[in-house]
């Protein structure tokens, strides 16, 4: 690696600190003797996004805890840097040792959102690696991925050698053990993949063939006897003893989540029917408050951060939340550490906690009613009422807040115009709530942002069979809402770009035919698709056309409940029957209770094996 040349180009790119590494707490290992297994942990987005991902921080530490492995990081270069690297022949390299990615044993990607796929290809290409796994030879790194997108890895199945499904803390160790053994034994790649395929949670896509009939996916044919029929999701049962982030790297740049994240539990008991995370991280597993405080102590000490985020899918549901938050605030008050609670549910927090948080610093408050009417909130099993929301914002306003964000979705199954207009009605009531308070008790002026994203049906949710509404319909409903929100005092509207939501829907539920579409789009210049300013619509249109497919054919299609699903090779542990039943209940507006209040049987006969959640009665 020509570091002098690299330094020269760093003078000409935006935010060069993205590309230098060397941050406090970066792991350093001796690589000269060539004995270490080299793992390049890649995030298919820019540094500030990738460094904000807790899962990658955990895997970085878990892998580096191994004496035989050195895990280094790489992120997608911003287009200015990509151009400079191409012009100067600089391959994609790791931040730790500036080693080109092609020299690693394993290149592993975190796949968090479908719109990052084109960046995976950019990174592979910059590393000088062929994009399709079948074109890479024994001298090249294994290319793998983990993260929630692995739920349906089919649209990228031809790119990767293998995937890991579920919690990474344990399976990554299993994988590295086998890679170490095979490397020592001099096994070839096929042998290695055969052995990996026998590890629970590992999916080797080349061992399955996708079958199609009349332009539809009809199932997988297993090509290797040793491969499992379905790949069971890995679940770490005890988070207190599982690996965590260790000494957190302290970035130079102001990254998106520039604070210490303390994961208080994994999973969610609420069962919102649109939410993939609510199904694929089951069951709920909590960390003990002592473990969390210990992690807070050591993280604050080694980083110098002054902010902690109490992190989970719904932090208000943590059994010990009302002890933990005051405890953290008290413990670190002298050090001026502030606490933020993202993902608070409307119905789950107490006024006291708000006042505690406010003592140090006011962070933004976000509420997610998701739908505008009670009817639709029942359909999606978002068990909050209008009263809950109004009480929550009143508490917030009384505690001195004057900025709140309200998150909604447009295009949920069964949605009518009445539901869309209901969003505006809710916003109006929030505004009234604020302005009906005595002037001296409320903050300056209300800043209420109503944000409406487009519903994307996701695998392993009760809505996995549902179509996404068409782009025209999305635009019509957005306009309807924008109009209805006009003139409401203190309320602003923001909505998501509909084209990317459609593409996300196509890739979320797509099959292997999309691999070629992805590669075509990449050749036509698609990159950073989740960034509106970079989204290249013509590139994607050409890519679908070249491959004789349409984005609508994937995104806007209703899938029959008896049809084969491309992701059925993956076993999320939550049963197919449960999801089908939940779908039925959605249509009749029936609520499913929070499973903290009693077991709903989502794991079917496997509940005893996987769910030890206290209080969950067995059915």
């Amino acid at each position: 690696m020509d570091t002098e040349l690299l330094e020269r180009i760093l003078h000409d790119v935006e935010k060069p600190a993205r590309y230098i590494g060397g941050e406090v707490n970066m792991r350093i290992k001796a690589v000269e003797n060539g004995k270490l297994l080299r793992f390049a942990l890649c995030f298919p987005d820019v540094y500030e996004i990738g460094m904000s991902h807790l899962g990658s921080r955990i895997i970085y530490n878990v892998l580096n805890e191994r004496e035989d492995t050195y895990c280094e990081r790489s992120f997608t270069p911003w287009p200015d840097m990509e151009k400079a690297m191409r012009e100067n022949g600089i391959p994609l390299y790791s931040l730790e040792t500036k080693t080109p990615l092609g020299a690693f044993d394993v290149v592993g990607f975190a796949l968090l959102y479908e719109m990052g796929y084109s960046n995976v290809l950019t990174m592979l290409e910059l590393a000088g690696l062929p994009l399709f796994s079948a074109q890479r030879d024994e001298t090249m790194p294994l290319v793998m991925a983990g993260g929630p997108c692995v739920c349906n890895a089919e649209p990228v199945a031809d790119i990767f050698d293998f995937f890991v499904f579920g919690d990474g803390e344990e399976v990554m160790n299993d994988v590295m053990d086998i890679i170490a053994e095979c490397k020592a034994a001099g096994n070839d790649r096929h042998m290695l993949l055969l052995r990996l395929a026998q590890v629970a949670g590992v999916y080797v896509p080349a061992f399955y063939r996708s079958e199609y009939k009349d332009g539809s996916f009809i199932g997988h044919t297993k090509l290797e006897e040793a491969a499992p029929d379905t790949v069971e999701r890995r679940v770490v049962q005890d988070l207190d003893s599982a690996g965590y982030t260790g000494d957190l790297i302290v970035p130079y740049l102001n990254i998106v989540h520039d604070r210490i994240a303390l994961e208080v539990f994994r999973g969610c008991t609420r069962g919102c029917r649109f939410c993939q995370a609510g199904y694929i991280y089951r069951p709920v597993r909590e960390r003990k408050p002592e473990t969390i405080i210990e992690q807070a102590d050591s993280s604050l000490d080694c980083t110098g951060y002054d902010e902690i985020s109490v992190f989970s899918l719904s932090s208000g549901d943590y059994s010990h939340i009302h002890e933990l938050v005051p405890q953290i605030l008290e413990r670190y008050e002298h050090d001026r550490v502030s606490v933020s609670l993202p993902s608070l549910r409307i119905d789950s927090f107490l006024k006291d906690d708000l006042e505690h948080i406010q003592r140090i610093r006011k962070t933004g408050l976000t509420f997610a009613p998701e739908a505008g009417t009670q009817r639709l909130r029942d359909v999606i099993n978002k068990g909050v009422s209008e009263d809950d929301l109004l009480r929550a914002v009143r508490d917030a306003f009384e505690a001195g807040w004057h900025g709140v964000k309200l998150y909604f979705m447009i295009g949920l199954p069964t949605e009518t115009d009445e539901d869309v207009l209901g969003i505006a009605e809710l916003a109006r009531k929030v505004s009234q709530e604020f302005y009906s308070m005595p002037r001296e008790l409320r903050g300056k002026g209300l800043r209420c942002t109503v944000s409406a994203s487009t519903f994307v049906p996701k695998p392993f949710t009760p809505f996995q069979w549902e179509p996404q509404i068409s782009v025209d319909e999305v635009l019509r409903r957005q306009a309807l809402l924008r109009n209805a929100l006009k003139g409401i005092r203190g309320v602003e509207f923001s909505c998501h770009f509909s084209e990317t939501s459609r593409l996300e829907a196509a890739f979320a539920r797509g099959d292997r035919r999309l691999c070629k579409v992805l590669v075509s789009a990449h050749r036509h210049g698609a990159r950073f698709d989740s960034w509106d300013e970079h989204f290249n619509k013509p590139a994607w249109e050409e890519a679908f056309a070249e491959n004789g497919l349409t984005v609508e054919g994937f995104a806007n299609r209703s899938i029959g409940q008896d049809e084969a699903l491309p992701w059925s090779v993956m076993d999320p542990i939550v049963s197919h029957e449960f999801l089908a039943e939940e779908r039925k209940k959605a249509y009749s507006g029936q609520i499913t209770r929070d499973c903290r209040k009693g077991c709903n049987g989502c794991f079917g006969t496997r509940a005893a094996e996987f769910c030890s959640f206290e209080g969950a009665e067995r059915t």
Partner: protein, 222 residues
């Protein structure tokens, strides 16, 4: 207590921006358990400020930083504690108790010295290098500058105190530059180099290093 630190910024750390340096020192001081004093108000922040901003990409042998602490510390001990926790490329070389001095570091600045290593795209004679520099320094040096009120023509010659160039190879040279650096502004080295390159009719790659900042030492002895 008001503590003044002098530090170096080099290697890859020159790619860390001025704003990011603020956060970097704040966190390093917290890691070193220095008792930072905070501002009052809605969003309290540590009372920490730099004498001068340093352009992104420029290395420095001596930058100054000013920080308020709630308790007195031994300056040398603070320096050692910080150096244990600062990333490679940033190193504290001096720590001084500012006593009762109230004037800001910025108001004490007078000038700065720079060393620029230049690698030209083509070979160039030593005479041409020097003669062009002499020519440049004899008249106004008018450059286009982004100001609050738009792009303007500005004469930066008054900001230049001295400039000596010498050839170090067939296509390489070293420039020693001294420019004004005060609270109201300073010499923009990049603009000066652009003007010089234009007069030479050549292109090249430059590495800039700030060698020192001259301060009024009568108020605070640094």
């Amino acid at each position: 207590m008001r503590l003044i630190l002098a530090f170096t910024k080099e290697q890859n750390m020159r790619f860390v921006s001025h704003l990011d340096m603020q956060r970097l020192f704040q966190r390093a001081m917290r890691r070193a358990h220095l008792p930072l004093a905070y501002s009052q108000g809605f969003n309290p922040h540590p009372l920490l400020s730099f004498a001068a901003a340093l352009a992104l990409g420029t290395a420095s042998d001596c930058e100054y930083l000013d920080v308020m602490l709630t308790e007195a510390v031994e300056p040398d001990e603070a320096m050692q504690a910080l150096n244990k926790t600062l990333p490679q490329g940033v190193h504290v070389i001096k720590a001084v108790d500012a006593g009762d001095a109230k004037l800001s570091l910025t108001s004490l600045m007078r000038s700065a010295a720079y060393e620029v290593t230049i690698c030209f795209d083509a070979e160039i004679g030593a005479d041409k290098l020097c003669n062009t520099m002499d020519e440049l320094l004899t008249g106004e040096i008018v450059v286009l500058k982004n100001t609050k009120s738009g792009i303007k023509n500005v004469d930066i010659r008054p900001m230049v105190i001295s400039a000596h160039i010498e050839a170090t190879g067939k296509n390489t040279a070293k420039l020693s530059l001294k420019g004004a650096l005060t609270a109201s502004g300073g010499l923009n080295v990049e603009l000066f180099l652009c003007a010089y390159f234009e007069k030479l009719g050549m292109n090249g790659v430059c590495e800039v290093r700030r060698r020192s900042i001259e301060m009024d030492q009568t108020v605070i002895k640094l």
